[in-house]
Symmetry: C2
Subunit: 331 residues, 2 copies
DNA sequence: CTGAAAGCGCTAACAT
DNA sequence: ATGTTAGCGCTTTCAG
């Protein structure tokens, strides 16, 4: 009846009745039932967001970006965690879809076949985020991790470093880390270089892990002149270890991480890193969904390629990078 | 009809029909519509979780605990962010309630009057988490921040420190930080001590913030012998600053933070801290909801008081703490 | 064991 | 500007 109209601020209602209804609603503590509403109107203003984990520092920022734009719309984000595990992602996705959301934002381009089928069949806008290297289902916004890895390799090689070690996650689970690694080694190869040694770990990334891995690697190869970490947290741990042990950073030993997390700027010395604009990725993805919902499109197949920037930190400072080994030795 | 029965694994269905239905469902890519289901059954297996923010490292761990126990139940968590802002919390809460969740977990005991009214009227189990100092609406699981602050004060005073500085968030927003501060200063007063000076900040906590504040405070009072930070992240920043500047930590200058975050264990030296068992808090809260839902209770008014433990780090090591100033001077 | 019927609390379309 | 009516896709209850 009329009540519904005023509560939804739609249609023509006289000022008087509107006031009366609002008053009654407040007095009774009325909370509308969106379940019924959604069923009747065949749409719910929910946007499902599936990310691998929250313990990463990366994803909360993406969520912040998503929130930021959805707040100016009637849409509401709902989160689910895939744990870097396709079968689990499938389950979460199924749950989400059973709520008939207006749109979906999922991490990465790798999904189980069933997940891809569901996504395609859902008839709603789907945005895959954070990665560009692969076949998107509908829209995609992110960076090319292969290229990111390659660029870092070129910067490092260009700065004159030659004996490079790699430290990162065991990669079966994390496709983006794997692509970065591939891009990295590929570009090194083209520069006639090869990783001297590597060290892998699994589990959450913490400073401590970074320390341990760095120690292990440097114990095996004290002559390394560069350490490339697959994320900033372990890079920070590695840096602290190196400083403690008196390694000459960045003079004789360069460090680089990945992600551009804020933590780095608090360290005594900043490893190089690469900012992937997590917040912007969230914003753009949400914007695509919002556009589609507004226009009633079931997706728009947009591709937003963001460009990660190398942050040289104190390791790849431009003046050093330009001149290579010779200059570095003078420092 | 029968289909509904097999999909819900309930009631008596012959093996043959069950198989037939399942096959058809899979073939058609059928995803049940929980909106209709929820409306019909008048219940939804959603648990609303409202936390202030994700950028804090504290809350993701609580969420992990919640997830952990809800995974063994049919319940599903749904997150909302209150941004430390009661009016916004009210809005988020209203949204959540409009989905008629089976239970609610909210952070803290301070809510707007309207929020409290909604919570009470919802007729579902409500668990307030992370704080104990105040009047709960229904159940509560957390620690007493007043006591936590007081205990840290006693430990610091007991270890012989006398010229104590405080560094923390501007507290209008964060009630738990405020209570800690009150407990801290109260206990110091009882020991005949007083904070020499303090430094406040607002905005996200990062290493950098910790550095800046520490510098400001130590510039004003180079003779401080202890710095109590309102969280571990700024404590870590402070530590790095002190080490860089060659302050004799922990010999002449002790440091303590709060939260027991993993980051600390990667630092060259660990400030004292207090572990509040965030994950356990999440687990217990979720368990209460799950119990109530299973038994059909609209709440059980349970009170779970967890005891935070002081982690002395390298600053309040027991051997030093016992003997006070004299011993510290020998170190 | 399976089918039929009656809603759940709303919205949308159509009267008035 | 307001009231009326017919579902939305399920679950629940009650009959076969």
């Amino acid at each position: 009846m009329t009540v519904s109209r005023v509560l939804r601020h739609s249609g023509d209602v006289s000022e008087k009745t509107r006031a009366k209804v609002l008053e009654a609603a407040k007095r009774l503590g009325y909370v509308p039932n969106r379940i019924a509403g959604g069923l009747a109107s065949q749409r719910v203003n929910l946007v499902g967001v599936i990310i691998p984990s929250l313990s990463n520092m990366v994803f909360p920022e993406v969520l912040a970006g998503i929130n930021e734009v959805l707040e100016d719309t009637p849409l509401q984000p709902v989160f689910g965690l895939s744990r870097y595990d396709p079968p689990h992602e499938e389950k979460v996705l199924f749950e989400m879809l059973s709520w008939r959301p207006s749109g979906l934002i999922v991490t990465g381009l790798e999904h189980s076949e069933a997940s891809r089928a569901m996504l395609r069949a859902a008839g709603i806008p789907v945005v895959e985020i954070l990665d560009l290297d692969g076949e998107p289902i509908d829209s995609v916004v992110g960076i090319s991790h292969r290229r990111a890895g390659a660029e870092m390799a070129r910067a490092i090689a260009g700065a004159g470093y030659r004996r490079i070690g790699f430290l990162g996650t065991k990669m079966p689970m994390d496709h983006r880390a794997r692509k970065r690694f591939e891009g990295f080694t590929g570009a090194l190869a083209r520069a006639g270089l090869e990783i001297v040694d590597q060290e892998f770990y699994s589990g959450g990334s913490g400073l401590e892990k970074g320390r341990e891995m760095t120690r292990a690697l440097l114990d095996r190869h004290p002559d390394l002149d560069f350490l490339y970490f697959s994320n900033d947290m372990i890079a920070a741990g590695g840096l602290l270890y190196c400083l403690e042990r008196g390694f000459d950073v960045p003079g004789k030993l360069g460090l680089a991480g990945f992600n551009g997390i804020e933590l780095l700027s608090g360290l005594p010395l900043r490893p190089a890193t690469m900012d992937i604009q997590r917040r912007e990725i969230g914003r753009r993805a949400a914007q695509i969904i919002a556009d589609c919902v507004e226009k009633g499109l079931p997706g728009k197949g947009e591709r937003v390629a963001l460009t990660p920037r190398i942050d040289p930190g104190h390791t790849l400072r431009a003046d050093l990078a330009r001149c290579g080994q010779a200059v570095r030795d003078q420092v």
